[in-house]
Symmetry: C2
Subunit: 205 residues, 2 copies
DNA sequence: AACTTATATGAATAAAAGTTCATATTGTCA
DNA sequence: TGACAATATGAACTTTTATTCATATAAGTT
């Protein structure tokens, strides 16, 4: 392989972007394994050679796309609720936060589904997802600790992981697989469960 | 393709079983995509032609293996705790059940991981997993309803799904990915969360 | 305009892997 | 033992797809 090119002119920046956009939509639509390089460049309207001018191979393209996507996912969750940290966390705050998590999956449920599938069989993909999990768990943990006086949780570190896993998987089931049960009922039960867990018996409940 | 053979003699029953066993171990060890048919029959000590005498293709082999595996998984969870339904469910019963779930992953964490990965990208695999989810959720729900008088849960149907998702994902994270946090701490927090959710304020708590 | 650098092209290459089928061997039963 | 059914074999076929690289075109610079 010849060395990767760093885009310098506008047209090459465009070309690179076109490839990423085309891949993103195709991956979401036809799956990652179901999409080959030819289709990507065809949809992008560029030649196959351009692909390998700007990306080492298909895998690094995917990793870069995933990092971008998870950054957007993370912001979609926490941006709308960034003031909860400051206030005292209440039942409604928890529900709002969980609703924000569910809403974040609307960016591209299919791309998320496809890449999430890979995390269990591909260590590189998993690494990117672990970075994401860590920052989400850290956020939850700091929420727990900034409300420490009202909380009855004995092990906030483990509790944060458990809460994160619970919310994540309910969202995944609802988003990726679908359920007989309406999303809102799941969100309600999830909110109840977490609220009661965190603040059961608390005076300010 | 010529029609599939139905094993009639002992040796063909053996051949078929050898192929399934070899595939099971290779899939766990090298991944499903990382294992090709040649390797499977080589490890099984039979010829490639035999493979296609007894299995339509690689996919149907996998589906059959997965059904078998999930039957074992299901039994591993519920067999050890089948009397909990009868007794009144207490804090310890919940922990025992959750520990039983975690233990069930010891059958073959790697095979489980590999197939679980596929459920989000392969509808056929997903169908088998959904059958599994349904019977697990049904079990949980009937536990909730047989202890109805003591429960404070407003929506047992949705609660069963939420509880199932929470336990499943914590087990998956601990089993497939690993965590800084010791398994037992996660189990403890999970048990607490579920117990409090189900019985908060209950007299018999 | 001449020269250099950046960018675009796509036919050709190369490697992998699933599946078939004509042939050979083994078992069964009369 | 002979004949038919069941089973086993593996070279050959087919298809698919990622990646390379020699060549052509466009942009920037002096």
């Amino acid at each position: 392989m010849t060395a990767l090119r760093t885009p310098k002119q506008q047209r090459s920046i465009q070309t690179r972007k076109r490839i990423m956009d085309a891949a993103f939509h195709l991956y979401a639509k036809k799956g990652i394994h179901g999409t080959n390089s030819k289709e990507i460049v065809e949809k992008a309207g560029v030649a196959i050679g351009s692909f390998y001018s700007y990306f080492k191979n298909k895998k690094t393209l995917l990793l870069e796309m995933l990092e971008d996507y998870l950054d957007r996912h993370y912001l979609a969750i926490w941006k709308p609720v960034e003031d909860i940290t400051i206030n005292e966390m209440g039942r409604d705050d928890i529900k709002v936060l969980i609703e924000s998590v569910f809403a974040a999956y609307d960016i591209s449920p299919e791309f998320h589904r496809q890449t999430h599938a890979l995390r269990y069989s591909d260590p590189d993909i998993n690494r990117v997802y672990e970075r994401e999990r860590n920052r989400e768990v850290t956020q939850i943990r700091s929420l727990l600790e900034s409300n420490k006086s009202r909380m009855r949780v004995t092990d906030p570190e483990a509790a944060a992981v458990v809460i994160h896993n619970a919310v994540e998987n309910v969202a995944h089931t609802a988003t990726f697989i679908g359920s007989q049960i309406e999303k809102q009922r799941l969100i309600d039960q999830l909110s109840d469960m977490i609220f009661i867990f965190l603040l059961h018996g608390s005076r300010s409940a």
